[in-house]
């Protein structure tokens, strides 16, 4: 009975606790102070520092309260002369074996040791230890380790091993010689450290500090602004520490409710130095005679309004198109959707969700009735099996990666990884299936073949909650493990074992990302994932689900806000007259366009053909991110008029006629919606540089110039309007979001938000099975192009690198494109590690250094796409999935040459 109430007496007062709590936890919960040093609420108790000792009646000695289970009737005393004497001695010993110079310490004022010394009134240390000073490890630009201030509480060790499950540091040696170090005593820089900074966040003293923040402000001088991280879709809550209008460092607090419980990754914690980078755009720019000149907002907006008016007049509203941004807030995306539809009168609006999860939105919407992640991040801890496929989770969604690793470490959860690369999660997996890129439908069908043949599926669930099972059964009948082995290269016994393991779990979750979606049959692969999950009754339950991990901070929100060519906010179709009428009324216009607009790749095509003449790009960089860059460049250059609104002069902005300077996430108010449908607040910490403005202000000003008044006093006013027209957001407001965000659907003010979708009933009624046949990738390898090329991302960079490549720490870790090639292939081509290689496809070529290893399989090449000077997307193919129009980034044929 975990929740059984027990009664204890602490310091003569009766207090209540729950069975299973420790004495310390009961004291804390009742507001009774017990000094601690090694205790951290996120970690298992350690019992190392001996400061939390208490006296307990009928118990010998002075038991540490952090490891002593509380029991009913216990009588505890937390402060006696004896306890104080022992605690004082412990503290004196710690001081004797260190060099605690508070005068110059970054932690002064925020140091638990300092507080404890003060609390215990230690004026003089009675002991003289044989203290040998340790050299500092400041080998890197992010974290400084000063062993001389270490109290060996082991919090950093547990943070690394138990919380992030990286296991980079541990206590070495013994007794008073003990110290914290990495494997084989390497510097942090040379170790396997991934610089998530969980250790820094957990350190009670100044032993671990932020290098970049040194001498830039004392804790009490820093204003902490809690906000949502601007990088990936996890939506971590972090604190911007501000002094003199500069973000000095980023900290985290496990008490702030959110998906990350105080954990961050290297990008969130150390990748925010782009904010006050000198390259930031500070004023509007207008291009004249091929050169940019500075302009006022009035002039720039007049220019845009004038050109938009004339193009619309000459060629109609569909000659204009809009790229919205998964990087911007919901408020801004909503406003751009409104601008395109109500002000201009076109549905030509899309954003880069097209390039990552369009197939998810299309596939899951037909299978389940809703295209979003079904369950929650925190819910992964309830899964008995987690199947991860096409997601290098520890690098792309590091905090979710750690959540998965923690689940596995706890012992209750088994991990299946299906990935063609030997990613970090493979080390934690029970079973790893290494499929050839582009064969996902085949192995998914193969698993279902086994599950159906061995009758391991959930018959009751299939009968009651789904339809189309017979068609599915027929379709997968041909996908015997032998046939699947032939197609995918996965040994048949491994496939069978994985199928049995997945099917055996009471609750199994599937997490996937672009490895599944970015294929010409991406939508089919998503539907296959949905098939598998439904077959085993895993949708609509805790710990189950189909969980597409969204790549960008607000890609879910940009989709929710209707920045897609076929839907208004909340996926209300533009082709339904009633919906159009509702929005026309809400937006105060006579009518809205009913024809489905152009997607991103179609827009670029139409621009090349002269059908789209003007393009407005808000916070996107298609000149690096889109497939087949030559073609993109041609398209953009054929435009009559290109407007780019961004925080830096990106590769795309350089082609623009007018550039508008935008405020970044730290400089504005708003909301982001994370991958688990959680709408969270974004808060302003610093002023934007120069004349830069939040994107929504620029859009509103432009609309007003074009005769459509958009008068919003602040972002909150826009959010109110969003909630009025978006049923899934209807119950939200900023005050409610302040308490930790809300997961949609949240239809009323009383609704607590939705942790997992499709409970008891699918959104579309019954879950729909699809009979799917595998088709090979669009461009098979041949003699001329004998390797499979697959693209992706790395931990230390983000998308087109606009922000991350301007961060000191991130570039110390990964500053240039490295082409991954298998050791065997490299040996055959006489390529050694870090040799320069040239990659050639039918579309183009690029050069970069080779990284030789076992990460990729023989015959496969992996290239990260962040680097414009070595642009992977010069190579990629713009072959589209016919259903979702997502390009096949993940497979094309390539030739590798060594550069002499």
């Amino acid at each position: 009975m975990e929740n059984e109430i027990i009664t204890l007496t602490v310091n003569g007062k009766s207090v209540q606790g729950r069975k299973g709590q420790t004495v310390l936890e009961v004291c804390r919960a009742n507001g009774i102070h017990v000094p601690t040093l090694c205790y951290h609420p996120k970690m298992p108790p350690y019992g190392g520092c001996r400061l939390c000792i208490v006296e307990i009646q009928n118990m010998r000695g002075l038991p540490p309260s952090c490891t002593t289970p509380a029991t009913d009737g216990m009588e505890v005393t937390t402060h006696t002369d004896r306890l104080m004497r022992v605690r004082k001695t412990v503290l004196e010993l710690l001081l004797a074996y260190g060099d605690h110079n508070c005068l110059l310490c970054e932690q002064t004022g925020n140091c638990e040791l300092q507080d404890l010394v003060y609390e215990h009134g230690i004026e003089k240390v009675r002991f003289k230890g044989e203290f040998k000073p340790h050299p500092k490890d400041d080998s890197n630009t992010m974290i400084v380790r000063d062993q001389n201030k270490c109290v060996l509480c082991g919090r950093c060790v547990r943070a690394c091993l138990e919380v992030q499950v990286n296991g980079v540091i541990d206590v070495a040696a013994r007794g008073s010689d003990s110290y914290i170090t990495t494997f084989n005593h390497q510097s942090l820089k040379d170790s396997t450290c991934v610089f998530c900074g969980e250790c820094v966040a957990s350190c009670p003293t100044g032993a671990l500090t932020y290098k970049q923040a040194r001498f830039r402000g004392r804790p009490w001088e820093l204003k902490k602004v809690a906000t949502t991280c601007t990088y990936c879709g996890v939506g971590c809550q972090l604190e911007l520490n501000v002094k003199d209008n500069k973000v000095v460092k980023v900290t985290s607090d496990h008490e702030i409710p959110g998906p990350n419980q105080g954990s961050l990754c290297v990008k969130g914690r150390f990748g925010n130095d782009f904010i006050d980078h000198p390259d930031r755009l500070t004023t509007p720019l207008i291009k004249e005679n091929g050169e940019f000149r500075q302009a006022s907002w009035e002039e720039a907006l007049d220019r845009i309004a004038g050109r938009f008016e004339s193009i619309r007049k000459e060629s109609g509203p569909d000659a204009l198109a809009f790229f919205s941004s998964a990087r911007c807030t919901n408020e801004e995306n909503y406003l751009l959707n409104k601008f395109a539809r109500a002000v201009i009168g076109t549905n030509n609006i899309d954003h880069c969700a097209r390039l990552c999860h369009a197939s998810t939105v299309a596939g899951l919407a037909t299978s389940f009735g809703s295209g979003a992640m079904t369950n929650s991040i925190d819910d992964l801890k309830n899964s008995d099996v987690i199947l991860v496929t096409g997601s290098n989770t520890t690098e792309m969604h590091p905090v979710i990666g750690s959540t998965i690793k923690r689940a596995v470490k706890s012992g209750r959860c088994k991990l299946i990884v299906v990935d063609s690369r030997k990613i970090d999660l493979v080390d934690h997996a029970e079973i790893w299936l290494r499929q050839k890129p582009g064969t996902d439908v085949a192995w998914l069908n193969g698993m279902m073949h086994v599950i159906i043949k061995e009758e391991l599926y959930d018959k009751k669930y299939v009968d009651e909650r789904t339809e189309g099972f017979e068609e599915l059964k027929k379709a997968v009948a041909a996908y015997t493990p032998e046939k699947v082995e032939e197609i995918s290269g996965i040994p048949k016994d491994d496939l069978i074992a994985a199928a049995r393991l997945y099917a055996s779990a009471p609750a199994a979750s599937i997490a996937y990302a672009m490895g599944i979606t970015q294929h010409i049959n991406g939508t089919d692969a998503v539907k296959s994932v949905a098939n598998l999950a439904m077959l085993c009754g895993n949708i609509g339950i805790e710990g189950g689900g189909v969980n597409p991990l969204r790549g960008q901070n607000n890609v879910q929100g940009a989709c929710d806000m209707g920045c897609l060519p076929n839907v208004f906010p909340a996926y209300q179709s533009v082709t339904i007259p009633d919906v159009r009428e509702k929005f026309a009324k809400a937006w105060g216009v006579d009518s809205l366009p009913g024809n489905v607009g152009l997607t991103i790749v179609e827009t670029i095509d139409a621009a090349g053909k002269g059908k789209v003449k003007a393009l407005y790009v808000m916070g996107e960089n298609p000149m690096v991110s889109d497939p087949d860059l030559h073609h993109v460049e041609e398209g953009l250059k054929s435009l009559d008029f290109l407007v780019v609104q961004d925080i830096f002069l990106t590769e795309t902005a350089q082609l623009a006629d007018v550039v508008l300077p935008a405020a970044c996430f730290a400089e504005k108010e708003g909301t982001f919606t994370n991958t688990e449908r959680r709408v969270q607040r974004v808060r302003k910490a610093v002023d934007p540089p120069g004349k830069a403005l939040p994107d929504w202000q620029a859009i509103a000003a432009l609309a007003s110039r074009m005769g459509y008044e958009m008068n919003y006093p602040d972002a909150e006013a826009i959010f109110k309007e969003i909630c009025a027209v978006t049923p899934s957001y209807a119950g939200m407001d900023y005050q409610r979001l302040d308490a930790g965000g809300l997961q949609w659907p949240c239809p009323t003010k009383e609704h607590p938000g939705t942790k997992y979708l499709h409970k008891d009933k699918f959104v579309r009624g019954k879950g729909l099975f699809h009979a799917i046949e595998w088709i090979p990738p669009a461009e098979p390898v041949d003699d001329q192009y004998p390797f499979l090329l697959t693209t992706g991302r790395v931990l230390y960079q983000y998308h087109t690198g606009t922000m991350t490549r301007r961060s000191v720490g991130l570039n110390e870790r990964y500053s240039e494109c490295l082409v991954e090639i298998n050791t065997e292939d490299a040996a055959r081509l006489n390529i050694k590690d870090l040799d320069r290689v040239k990659l050639v496809t039918r579309r183009g070529q690029m050069e970069a250094k080779a990284r030789v290893g076992e990460m990729t399989e023989e015959g496969t090449i992996f290239v990260p796409f962040h680097f414009s000077e070595a642009a992977a997307n010069k190579l990629t193919l713009a072959a589209l999935d016919p259903q979702a129009k997502i390009p096949e980034y993940k497979v094309c044929a390539v030739r590798v040459e060594k550069v002499a």
């Binding site: 091993l161 296991g167 541990d170 070495a172 040696a173 013994r174 990495t182 494997f183 084989n184 080390d427």
Partner: protein, 150 residues
């Protein structure tokens, strides 16, 4: 190295609690714990490499650099101390030209001190490889080293 390690691993279960016996076998094979072997042991026992490092640096028995062909351990325990263990150590140091923890340049001898080998009745004691010598007289030391060492 892979074959030797596989051989060692075949004698144990790949779990956490097998770590110390595995490390002892590795040390028996190589005379010390090579970093690659520690990493392999970590994978085998499903722990982080740094945990292997933490455990192995905790115990005095594990060594992190190659040792000489012959290991000389001079006891400095209480009984040996009383019976002149310090003089024995001094003599070994001067004869071999190394201090405790070091290895001779020709790789023949590594010198260590130990706190007690449990042969107090024979104090002062010294161990060369598997041979234990009691009531050691400093002038006989070279004889013992040459006799037992290869």
């Amino acid at each position: 190295m892979k074959e030797q390690l596989d051989q060692i691993f075949s004698r144990h279960h790949g779990t956490r609690d097998a770590l110390i016996p595995v490390l002892q076998d590795i040390q028996a094979e190589y005379g010390y714990l090579p970093p690659e072997a520690m990493e392999a042991a970590a994978r085998f026992c499903r722990v982080a490499p740094v945990e292997v490092y933490g455990v192995s640096t905790f115990y005095a028995q594990f060594k992190f650099s190659p040792v000489g062909r012959n290991l000389v351990m001079v006891c400095q325990g209480t009984a040996c101390h009383v019976m002149g263990g310090a003089r024995v150590l001094e003599e070994v140091q001067s004869r071999l030209g190394i201090r405790p923890g070091q290895t001779t340049a020709d790789g023949r001898f590594t010198l260590e001190t130990v706190a007690c080998i449990g042969a107090c009745a024979l104090a002062p004691a010294m161990v060369v490889n598997k041979d234990t010598f009691g009531r050691v007289k400093p002038e006989k030391i070279m004889e013992m080293l040459n006799g037992s060492g290869s």
